[in-house]
Amino acid sequence: MAELKLACNIVKQVEEICEKYNNDQGELINILHEAQHLQGYLPEEMQRLIASKLNIPVSKVYGVVTFYTFFTMTPKGRHPISVCMGTACYVRGSEKLLEEFKRRLGIDVGETTPDGKFSLDCLRCVGACGLAPVVMIGEKVYGRLQAADIKNILDELE
């Protein structure tokens, strides 16, 4: 992974998050939660910064980041796609939708397209089971989706 330098304002925000938790090592998971919210992922530089603020080895931070699936080191696309794999969506064919997204975008779950436009993830239930199968792109919910609709949806997004 390329070592991207963090923007100054991000550095400041990460430091503020750590300080809010008194740089307490026991709050590592909470700090990572909030830090990930800043850019949607936890780049290497950010993990190093958190490690030095909390005075713990960066290997510990990386260990926690790779242990919990919630944390990610992959930047999200401008249009993050989440396919619901909850029971209702699954039985109504969300797996086929997922396969179609993978095929069209050429990426796997958890990855981002090289142009940074789309990223693909799965989630479990958005509370719209009546519309199953459901896909979320950004904040927008697409219900009763069929594989054939996907091309048009992707084409419409900038």
Partner: protein
């Protein structure tokens, strides 16, 4: 009834133990040997790992439904423990079989074979077949560095290396990453060790129960060079090697085997057998002169001079401050380590004297250390592409080589080191124990600085196994404060104080390994028994006491080296051959 004493029964033994004792420790005290795998507790040092993760040590405790791990279960009043019921034996066996299901069957070619704790468990439990087939191993890495070989397919996740690297040494190079079958122990961001903060101290290798972490083996290169008639192969042996090598041949810990080691090396085919202790005396001349020079400037009120002087003999310690304290790299002494001083003098002074062309000369070192392997590859220790020290072998590798060459070590007569680079004083010998470099330096600094002879040569106040020690020495009315740390975690405490401007010492000795070089990552494995380290330490102090000359500046061949070649300590020639500089990593 005494509140702090616990009464319990283990098998047929009734015993009283202090509160806080674990079932494992209580059982050990009556000679019951409960098998362990992840657990290690090198008592008297800070090396400890007790995650209770392997479950090999389970025992039955009356009134409890589940079996309990002996290593982390504290004794309680009236407890009744059974350590070898059928249920216990079966459970341990299944645990071992499950660990083995995920472990490559490569014992025949594994470098840990014979010393492997998992192999010993399999033997002890009489495991004759593998009932379970293992999971996926594909994500784990192999890596060969200058010092350490990492083969994570063999890892059993005991976490000993992680504890040592993070809690004890505070290096933070190794940690568990990912989860489930994808778990592995690796540097952050799954980088290679060469791209991490690793100091190559080798303490992870010293505690690894299996073949996941081992030393880079140089025995084959050496055998090739020894059989090449065009090469002159010379060897230097570090002080701590002679106090531990005998253990590999069944001798009791603490047996000093200096003479046998010299003969065995000659029998292996080395053309000259020299001693790193000679270079240790030389280190004291240079480091001592630097200490005096910095002190004198300090006493004259020179504001530029940086104190304390930090010793620089230990290559893992050098790596540590280069990585972790780059803002302090102008504080350590610039004196090279004895290994590198030896190589530099052997390939200049000695080679010129003997008329041996540098290209024909191979300088090998036998070290208790794995970081030494890395150190001799540092580019600043080469001249025109020729390294001062060609390669370094650990104590363990030397033992393997002696066995392979059919040398009956126990029956080998005592030999003497060759001259001039084999002559050393008692001060050189004690370099192998924590506090030894400081004591050797004080013996010379005191006499050179005050012009008086020391009434008592032994500085007992700075010896021992305490992680941090200190003393005050009177130098013509000036109170010289010295500090000693062994283990990089202890070193960090002193360095943090220096960084915060709270330092109270003038000179500090630091060794990366517990006990100093006697507990080095290249030594025969201690398997968690710290009595072995104490015995090795005693062997070195005994050898020092028996030496006719015990102060570095009185070594006649050191005196001659300065007369014939170097001039005086810190001379221009001494600087170019015996000093170095450090890099921000």
């Amino acid at each position: 009834m005494d509140n702090n004493t616990i009464h319990l029964k283990i098998d047929r033994h009734d015993l009283c133990v202090p509160e806080g004792t674990t079932v494992l420790e209580a059982a050990e005290s009556v000679g019951i040997d409960i098998p362990t795998l992840c657990h290690v507790d090198l008592k008297g040092t800070c090396i400890k790992n007790a995650p209770a993760s392997c479950r090999i040590c389970v025992v039955e405790i009356e009134g409890r439904k589940n079996l309990a791990p002996a290593c982390s279960t504290k004794c309680t009043e009236g407890m009744v423990v059974r350590t070898s019921t059928l249920r216990v034996l079966n459970a341990r066996r299944v645990v071992a079989e499950l660990i083995l299901s995920d472990h490559p069957n490569e014992c025949l070619t594994c470098p840990k074979s014979g010393e492997c704790e998992l192999q010993k468990i399999a033997l002890k439990f009489n495991i004759r077949e593998m009932p379970f087939n293992g999971g996926e191993l594909s994500l784990r890495k192999r890596e060969v560095t200058a010092s350490i070989v990492r083969n994570m397919d063999k890892c059993i996740f005991c976490r000993r290396c992680e504890s040592v690297c993070n809690e004890v040494q505070t290096v933070g190079a190794l940690g568990a990453i990912r989860r489930g079958f994808n778990t592995t122990i690796a540097p952050a961001f799954d980088k290679m060790m060469v791209d991490s903060e690793c100091t190559y101290c080798g303490q992870c290798v010293a505690v690894c129960p299996v073949g996941a972490l081992t030393e880079r083996d140089h025995t084959n290169e050496l055998v090739k060079d020894l059989s090449n008639p065009d090469k002159i192969v010379i060897v230097q042996t570090a002080p701590a090697v002679r106090a531990a090598l005998g253990e590999e041949f069944g001798m009791p810990p603490g047996t000093s085997v200096t003479g046998k080691m010299v003969s065995a090396l000659r029998e292996l085919g080395f053309d000259y057998v020299f001693d790193t202790d000679f270079a240790a005396d030389l280190t004291i001349m240079e480091e001592g002169a630097e200490i005096i020079s910095r002190l004198e400037r300090f006493l004259k009120g020179d504001k530029e001079v940086r104190l304390p002087v930090l010793t620089s003999c230990c290559p893992a310690w050098v790596n540590f401050f280069e990585h972790q304290f780059p803002d302090l790299i102008d504080i350590p002494s610039t004196a090279r380590s004895p290994q590198q001083m030896f190589g530099s003098i052997a390939k200049s002074y000695w080679a010129e004297k003997m008329g041996i062309p540098k290209e024909k000369l191979v300088v090998v070192s036998i070290m208790p250390c794995l970081a030494k392997k890395y150190e001799c590859h540092r580019p600043e220790f080469s001249t025109n592409g020729i390294p001062d020290v060609d390669y370094s072998l650990s104590t363990r590798e030397l033992a393997r080589l002696i066995k392979r060459a059919n040398i009956s070590f126990e029956h080998t007569p005592d030999g003497e080191f060759d001259l001039p680079l084999g002559e050393s004083t008692g001060a050189g010998v004690i370099f192998g124990a924590t506090g030894g470099v400081m004591e050797a330096a004080l013996r010379s600094v005191y006499e050179i600085y005050t012009g008086r002879t020391l009434a008592k040569i032994d500085f007992e106040q700075i010896r021992g196994m305490e992680g941090l020690r200190h003393a005050t020495i009177d130098l013509n009315g000036f109170q010289l404060k010295v500090g000693i740390a062994h283990g990089l975690g202890n070193a960090r405490k002193l360095l943090d104080n220096i960084r915060a401007g709270k330092n109270e010492y003038h000179v500090i000795e630091i060794m990366a390994c517990p006990g100093g070089c006697i507990g080095g990552g290249g030594q025969p494995l201690h398997h968690g028994n710290s009595d072995i380290l104490k015995a090795r330490m005693k062997a070195l102090y005994d050898e020092d006491a028996a030496k006719p000359i015990r102060k570095s500046h009185e070594n006649p061949y050191i005196v001659k080296l300065y007369e014939e070649y170097l001039g005086k300590p810190l001379s221009e020639k001494a600087h170019s051959l015996l000093h170095t500089h450090y890099f921000k990593r």
